[in-house]
Amino acid sequence: MQPLLHLNNVSKRYGAVRVLDGIDLTVADNEFLTILGPSGSGKTTILRLIGGFEGIDGGSLMFEGRDLSAVPINRRPFNTVFQDYALFHHMTVAENVGYGLKVRGRPKAEIAQRVAEVLDTVGLGSLGGRYPAQMSGGQRQRVALARAIICEPRLILLDEPLSALDVELRAQMQRFLKSLQRRLGIAFVFITHDQEEAIALSDRIIVVNRGRIEQEGAPEELYRRPRTAFIASFLGDNNLIAGTLATVDGHLCAIDTAAGRLAATVDGPALEKSSAVLLAVRPEHIRLDVEHAGAQGLAAEVTDIRFLGANVIIEAVNAALPDVLIKVRRLADGSAAGLRTGSRVQLSWDPSDATLLPAAG
């Protein structure tokens, strides 16, 4: 099936700065696509190209098979939540939100009713008469969101639309966006820094790094099978231990590290024997036992225990790997109660939970 939106080998530069380079990207009808990437990697730029606020310098941009480059911004059936909101400060909140309908010539009564509905949905029911300058940061962000969704376009571009909201409100908005997707069949291109949000909402995630797409896939796939060290540590936490590939037995490998031979699985392209590799194991996959004679695994000393709310992060160091801070994640349910800084522990993991990656170039 034809994708709704198709960016083909798109590049973009600002003066001498090459910001995007060979971006290939599709958005299917009714898909929730999230773009993740470090600050400054080019996420906003991708959105601005799609929205038509910047011209592309190379490649092509198609919507339902038609070239978009000749379509002016106002005729693209997209709406955008801008990273800096871009609210009209001379209009009230209600006027801002109703603007899309107003320019479509909808009757006043209809607009008023829809605006009231949407404002209710974003929790600003009573503030329609205010001006943006009289709103808090999170309230403004919600106005921006309301303004973009009210027209129910084919595709919504959202640039960190929930970043200024508290957890509860954010969860509520996430549910709302998902319901929109389900109810109206709208497609989403969504930028966020919140990985849980990305994983929870997205049908597919694209990770951008330095203007290129580094990996894409379903959230779980990306999380479980990162293909590069960057992805492994950018998306969620990961413990990376450098070593050389000693033996390969099907998927199962043995790696020689400074702390001895460790086991892992590999499911990407086969790696050369003796090549430099990284063993990646997620904090939540590490078992942690109080050290006792004859215990298996990596001996380590606990250097810090950090309470994060629902989770606890235990940091430990192995004497042979002084540079690697090994993180272990536990639920804050008292299961790590016996540990103290300085406790000696034994770290182990299921080889199938450890992934092998090519050492970063």
Partner: protein, 289 residues
């Protein structure tokens, strides 16, 4: 925004229309008349008749003959002085307005603009009657016993020209400067103070730089208007009130020396263009997204 690479027919048409209007109208109503007129500056005047013989004599006359160059320089100097003082005053006044509560600002601004609606000629007359040796100011001061002899230097002097021009053209500078200041985001001022800047430092580093386009516009307005004005200097300047604008004007009267007049006008034009260019240079590219 640069969206259309292969624009549709309609877009092309629209772009064409836009160029036609924006370049065509000024071409038709401004450039053509003026250019064809200014061409006269290259013709020869002989026995009161304009002959179509190309010459640079009219321009040469400016540099070599009689009083043109000195008067020109004097006038430039005068206009520069007035511009300087007026821009400084206007900036102060614009700042004063800017520092009032938002609701009052427009009204205060308007009270500074209002004098523009009173006829210029009447104002000059009025200024003269105020400043005269037996004018209102002297009479008032005499009446109050502040002085016992009328001050004579108030009128018919360079000072008088200066005062009159400054007063007449002040509003032209206040408006653009204020309009630029008005756009300064409130939180810039907060940020500035927060970082430890004194009010004066805030002024120097944020308010004035951001007001610069307006200040430049105000300076250009003032310079050009005062440079071209010859009525005021003549009326209040006494024997000092002779300016370049007057010389230009006089060529088109009974002197019937249109070629020289046009040449002098072109020189005046070049000067004012230069002023505009200078003002343009002082504005750095604004970085607003």
């Amino acid at each position: 925004m640069n969206t259309s690479r292969s624009g549709s027919r309609q877009d092309l048409l629209r772009a064409g229309l836009s160029h036609a209007l924006n370049l065509g109208l000024p071409l038709l109503f401004v450039v053509m008349p003026i250019l064809s007129f200014v061409m006269v500056s290259f013709w020869t005047l002989r026995d009161g008749q304009i002959l179509l013989i190309p010459t640079l004599a009219n321009y040469r006359a400016f540099f070599t003959e009689g009083s043109y160059l000195p008067v020109y320089l004097q006038t430039v100097g005068l206009s520069l002085q007035v511009t300087l003082v007026n821009v400084a005053l206007s900036t102060a006044i614009a700042l004063f307005i800017f520092r009032r509560p938002p609701r009052m600002r427009f009204l205060i601004l308007m009270s500074f603009m209002l004098p523009l609606f009173m006829s210029y000629i009447i104002k000059v007359y009025s200024i003269r009657s105020i400043l005269g040796q037996r004018g209102l100011l002297n009479e008032a001061m005499l009446g109050l016993g502040l002085i016992d002899q009328p001050i004579e230097a108030l009128l018919f002097s360079r000072t008088a020209i200066f005062i009159a021009l400054a007063v007449l053209y002040l509003p032209y500078a206040i408006l653009p400067i204020y309009l630029a200041l008005d756009r300064i985001p409130a939180n810039y001022l907060a940020a500035c103070a927060d970082l430890g800047a004194t009010p004066l430092q805030t002024l120097r580093d944020v308010v004035l730089p951001l007001g610069r386009p307006g200040i430049a516009a105000g300076a250009v307005f003032t310079f050009i208007l005062t440079f071209g004005d010859f009525v005021t200097p003549q009326m209040v300047g006494g024997t000092q009130g002779f300016t370049f604008g007057r010389i230009v004007f006089s060529q088109f009267g009974l002197a019937l020396n249109w070629p020289l007049g046009s040449a002098l006008a072109v020189i005046l034009l070049v000067t004012t263009l230069l002023a505009v260019a200078l003002a343009g240079l002082s504005i750095r590219r604004e970085h607003v997204r």
